[in-house]
């Protein structure tokens, strides 16, 4: 009996370790704002396990594979140097999404609650990277998005801020073509994934976390201030009403002409 007890203990112990499931998925992140003629495309990496997911958009270049080459005319040298990649961190246990949102380049740490996506599942299906995926749509803060997810990969997360479908989101695009996320690599429980640690990058930084609503209030306040500013040549500053999410709502505009 004692032997059996010890055996069960050992088996349980090894079971506990066997529960770690790690996912590393690379997506192409393309963003093309309405007024710009050109899009910016970078590689991005989603690292996830049962409790958290970490999504990094690689503007700095560590994850890029093709080096930029200077053209004969001088090329486009780097200007606003991004020192660190933007990261979106999702905590599945406490149900918060952490991200850095900016107002005119000043960063704010936004801790958003994980109840922002109200997905509607459709019957359409498509195959991506060999997985059978089903379509889901959502209206999120000003734009309509269409995503494809697969229950064959049971991680309830996805690229960027997307989460909450019963399987990994392999593709997500806004219907107006502004934001596009497409999977190009999946690795589950390989030797590289098991050695990748997921860390919340925002735990120790000096910025105090604020909620999305508090961020919007500050954004609206700055939008007003900038409109009144005049530089020596009569120019003013205008911050966009929406970047990806709508920041200055039509309702706000109608109340504050």
């Amino acid at each position: 009996m004692r032997m059996l007890f010890i055996l069960i203990l050992i088996v349980n112990f090894s079971n506990a370790h066997a529960q770690e499931n790690n996912l590393v998925a690379d997506y192409t992140y393309t963003i093309k704002h309405e007024i710009l003629p050109s899009a910016t495309t970078v590689n991005s990496r989603l690292t996830a396990n049962a409790f958290e997911s970490h999504y990094e958009m690689d503007f700095v270049g560590n994850l890029n594979f093709i080096e930029e080459e200077a053209g004969v005319d001088g090329g486009s040298a780097l200007a606003v140097k991004v020192k660190q990649n933007p990261i979106i961190y999702k905590d599945n246990q406490s149900k918060y999404i952490y991200s850095i949102e900016r107002i005119f380049l000043k960063p704010f740490l936004v801790k958003d609650s994980m109840n922002i996506f109200n997905w509607k599942i459709n019957e359409n299906k498509k195959e991506i990277l060999g997985y059978s995926c089903q379509q889901a749509t959502v209206h999120y803060r000003g734009r309509n998005y269409t995503a494809y997810f697969t229950t064959e990969i049971p991680f309830q997360t996805g690229p960027w801020k997307f989460y909450g479908l019963p399987g990994l989101i392999l593709e997500a695009e806004s219907d107006d073509g502004v934001l596009k996320l497409n999977i190009n690599k999946i690795a589950i429980n390989t030797t590289t994934t098991t050695t990748t640690d997921i860390v919340n990058p925002y735990l120790d930084i000096k910025l105090q976390p604020i909620s999305w609503d508090e961020y919007i209030i500050e954004y609206e306040k700055k939008h007003e201030e900038f409109k009144g500013f005049r530089d020596p040549n009569g120019g003013t500053i205008s911050i966009p009403k929406r970047i990806i999410e709508t920041l200055i709502s039509d309702k706000y505009l109608s109340e504050n002409p």
């Binding site: 495309t41 093709i66 001088g74 040298a77 780097l78 200007a79 005119f104 049971p154 700055k222 530089d231």
Partner: protein
């Protein structure tokens, strides 16, 4: 009846399936489990997930009485249960599921597809539509509205305090340094977006190796159906005023071109060349060392009145610019500018000299017709011999003739003056760059230049038939070759170069002016052969930036002037040190120090007299010494764009150990300036604050600039001995700009300047000038009005009335933006002249200039 009701309920009510998911072993509820309802085709119909109590509630899809319920959770095996709706339990259905933990992890998976080409793009991008308010006529107007960009009066642009050296068109350098031709004439409607490229490196091979403080603005054009666009601007007015302008821009894969022609007599000058005031000529910024001096053509006084009020012009300017990639590796750029103008300038000057011996009052009037004629050709050929080698051939030819006829007075005498000067300038550069690897590069740079300025001056006094005739021939030829090695290692970058240059200047002049003790001819030569070594080092890491630049010259200088000869070998060392520390991400402190030693220029070496107008003569006492200049600056800067606050405070100290001592002899007929190099230790101190803040309560932006300068300098009058002079100058400028949401907005600028002069031999003299500019702007849809009023009081202490100007402009743009109409009234109150009072250590003077009389101009602008 009950059945019917029951049926209706059944078909319309939302049916839910709920339950609790528990762990099969521990019997504990499992949270965040996905619950999926699927049909026979494996299509998901609805889903939910369990809450922290393991409880779920899911909508049952309509028209399905049988479906599959699957659980999905990392760490647990998925479980699928076939569920049949049992109408007896309607509308609430229950399903509890127990799930088993996985004994092993998910299977290993590694799938990859071919990645698309990824492009990194990190530049500050401006979307013009966010900043336009519709009143922009040219790109310069739009650029001036972008945050971080400021534009000086001569059109030169600064971005975040750094000089913009190039304005590119779709990444092509069409205008090179003369970008005002483009920024002041291209229509902002064709611009899609504007990129500000910091650390702009003209030479693509040096990108990442050599740090620069240059900035380039890249104008990205809209891709439209036609690649040719242009505009025609026709303005006609009272009296006999016209402003005709036409410009065209053409963009295609192989060639980019821009052409402009302007003919006006409303004192507008579209060219970068300036002949009516002393504003710095942007086009010659890089050529100062290569050019000879022009004795006859400097304009005497700096006025605070804007250039376009002074005198009367008749200006024709044309410019053609083209850039073409003639092959895959070669591109060629050609720019040609032509200016011909006829300027009528009238001024009157009365100087009251307070000399210890006697008080002398000199009055001069001048009525001048000045005709400049400029032709400039610029070209550049860039050839990429190999992917890591670049050859650059650049040249400039500049032929300028200025002819002036003047009727002048000098106290009671009247003169006819005729001045003619030709300026022929040629510069040719050949540069070779080899990029050794990602961090190292090697260059060979060479250039050859030649500048020849022959000038004639004829001064006739009709009453006594005395004529002064003078010819000057001033030449400067330079040759320079250097090899340069650049390297970047982690946080530091180095550059070392070894070079040789020869600068040869000759000044030949002769006239028939007679003064005892001075000759009336010059045969002066300066030949400077120098071998030089430049070593530069820059370190930049975290919050520190530190840079050291050194130039060591081994020079053999020979100067001959009429009979005297000086020749010697000299070693000159010119270091420059800069450091900056970032206190946080909005503020920084900086310190700059440099020493500059220079051999004197030939224009200050000639011993024979040269006459430049009806009374002024200059010559020099020949003695040789290096002019040494030391400069120290310290500053503290805050750039908080987010809070719309900027603050810049600085302290500057500069000292000239050896400097030119001006020894002036003033009589009723002439002013003679004999300069010599002496150890004078002239110093100047400057302290300044510049701050800007937006205050939301007033919806206005406030800007305050103050500076206080103390200048210690020496001179001598009529051989009365060396005088120590102190000039203290206080400058104050307060601007307020409103930003109301309504259509009406205001701007007010107050400028106050106080100057005090004191001399060891004289009493103190002080004068104060005051200026107030008030602008009203009204905008409504396609229509705007600008009313500009300026008040100048050149000497507050004498209670002079001051002068008042007003300009008004109306502008209307058609809905389809094809035609724009404007009406302008300039100098509304027809102020005839502007009188300015000045004071210095030896005199008080009143200077008045005739202004462009009032005109009304109606113009229409058509976009082609």
């Amino acid at each position: 009846m009950v059945f019917f009701f029951f049926c209706i309920n059944y078909t319309h009510a939302q049916h839910n399936l709920s339950g609790t998911i528990t762990d099969a072993e521990t019997k504990e509820p499992v949270k965040f489990v996905s619950i999926i309802i699927k049909d026979n085709n494996n299509t998901i119909l609805s889903y939910t997930s369990t809450d922290i109590q393991g409880f779920y509630k899911i909508n049952i899809p309509e028209n399905h009485t049988e479906f599959f319920v699957t659980t999905s959770m990392l760490g647990y095996f998925p479980k699928t249960i076939t569920y049949k709706l049992d109408t007896k339990s309607a509308p609430k259905y229950t399903l509890n599921i127990a799930v088993s933990q996985r004994t092993s992890s998910l299977d290993e998976v590694l799938i990859e597809t071919k990645k698309p080409i990824l492009v990194k793009k990190d530049t500050t991008v401006y979307r013009p539509n966010q900043f336009k308010d519709g009143s922009e006529r040219h790109i310069e107007d739009l650029l001036s509205k972008l945050p971080g960009i400021t534009i000086a009066d001569n059109g030169s642009i600064r971005f975040k305090g750094k000089q913009v050296t190039r304005v590119l068109l779709d990444n092509d350098n069409l205008f090179d340094a003369n970008y005002t031709i483009g920024t002041r004439n291209i229509n902002p409607e064709i611009i899609e977006e504007i990129e500000a490229i910091e650390d702009y490196q003209k030479n693509p091979l040096l990108k990442g190796i050599e740090n620069t403080e240059d900035v380039a603005l890249n104008l990205i054009l809209k891709k439209g159906k036609t690649d040719v666009s242009g505009e025609v601007d026709v303005g006609l007015g009272i009296k006999d005023k016209y402003d005709l302008k036409s410009s065209m821009i053409s963009v295609s894969k192989k060639i980019k071109g821009f052409g402009l022609i302007n003919y006006n007599n409303i004192n507008q000058n579209q060219s970068p060349y300036n002949f009516s005031s002393n504003t710095f000529d942007l086009s010659k910024a890089n050529e100062l060392e290569l050019r000879a001096d022009n004795f006859l053509n400097s304009n005497n006084l700096n006025s605070i009145i804007p250039e376009n009020y002074i005198g009367e012009n008749k200006n024709l300017f044309g410019s053609i610019n083209a850039l073409s990639k003639i092959s895959e590796n070669t591109s060629i750029r050609i720019n040609y500018n032509h200016l011909s103008d006829r300027l009528i300038l009238q001024d009157f000057n009365k100087i009251d000299y307070n000399l210890s011996s006697n008080n002398l009052i000199i009055t001069n009037a001048s009525n001048q017709i000045k005709k400049p004629n400029v032709n400039v050709l610029d070209y550049e050929i860039i050839n990429s011999l190999k992917p890591n080698q670049l050859l650059n051939l650049k040249g400039k030819l500049d032929y300028t003739i200025v002819e002036s006829r003047l009727l002048t007075t000098n106290n009671n005498q009247v003169f006819n003056e005729v001045k003619k000067s030709e300026d022929f300038f040629l510069n040719q550069e050949l540069n070779f760059t080899n990029k050794i690897d990602k961090n190292k590069a090697f260059q060979v740079l060479s250039n050859f230049s030649s500048n020849n300025i022959p000038q004639n001056f004829n001064l006739t006094n009709p009453t006594d038939e005395n004529t002064i005739q003078q010819q000057i021939k001033f030449k400067k030829n330079t040759f320079n070759i250097q090899s340069k090695f650049l390297s970047k290692v982690k946080s530091s970058s180095y550059a070392a170069s070894l070079g040789f240059y020869n600068h040869k200047s000759t000044l030949e002049s002769s006239n028939n002016v007679f003064f005892t003790g001075y000759s009336n001819f010059n045969n002066t030569l300066k030949n400077d052969n120098s071998l030089y070594l430049d070593v530069n080092y820059e370190f930049s890491k975290n919050k520190w930036m530190f840079s050291l630049e050194n130039r060591l010259l081994f020079s053999y200088i020979k100067i001959t002037d009429n009979a005297s000869i000086y020749k010697d070998k000299t070693i000159i060392y010119n270091p420059s040190f800069k450091s900056r520390y970032l206190i946080n991400n909005v503020s920084s402190v900086y310190i700059n120090f440099n020493i500059n030693n220079q051999a004197p220029e030939i224009a200050k070496k000639h011993s024979g007299l040269i006459q430049t107008n009806n009374r002024y003569l200059q010559a020099n006492n020949f003695n040789y010494n290096l002019i040494k200049n030391e400069n120290l600056s310290l500053g503290y800067r805050i750039n908080d764009f987010y809070n719309l606050f900027q603050f810049n405070s600085y302290v500057n100290f500069s000292k000239r150990n050896f400097d030119y001592l001006n020894n002036m002899f003033i009589s009723e007929e002439n002013t003679i300036n004999i300069s010599s190099i002496q150890e004078l230790n002239n110093t100047s101190y400057r302290f300044g604050i510049d701050t800007e803040k937006y205050i939301h309560f007033f919806k206005s932006t406030f800007n305050l600039k103050t500076s206080y300068t103390i200048n210690n300098y020496k001179n001598s009058i009529n051989n009365e001995g060396l005088r120590d002079n102190i000039n203290k100058s206080l400058f104050l400028n307060l601007d307020v700009r409103t930003g109301f949401k309504e259509n009406l907005n205001f701007e007010n600028s107050i400028i106050f300047q106080n100057n005090t002069f004191a001399s060891s031999t004289n009493k103190k003299s002080t004068f104060t000038t005051f200026q107030n500019n008030f602008t009203t702007k009204y905008k409504q849809d396609n229509f705007w009005i600008h009313l500009d009023t300026k008040y100048f009081n050149p000497d507050v202490s004498t209670k002079s009335k001051g002068v008042f100007f007003a300009d008004i402009m109306f502008n209307y743009v058609q809905k389809n933006k094809k035609i724009e109409y404007s009406l302008r009234v300039s100098n509304l109150f027809n102020t005839k002249s502007y009188i300015e009072t000045n004071s210095s250590d030896l005199s008080t003077s009143t200077y008045s200039q005739k202004l462009l009389e009032r005109y009304i101009l109606i113009s229409a602008k058509f976009k082609l």
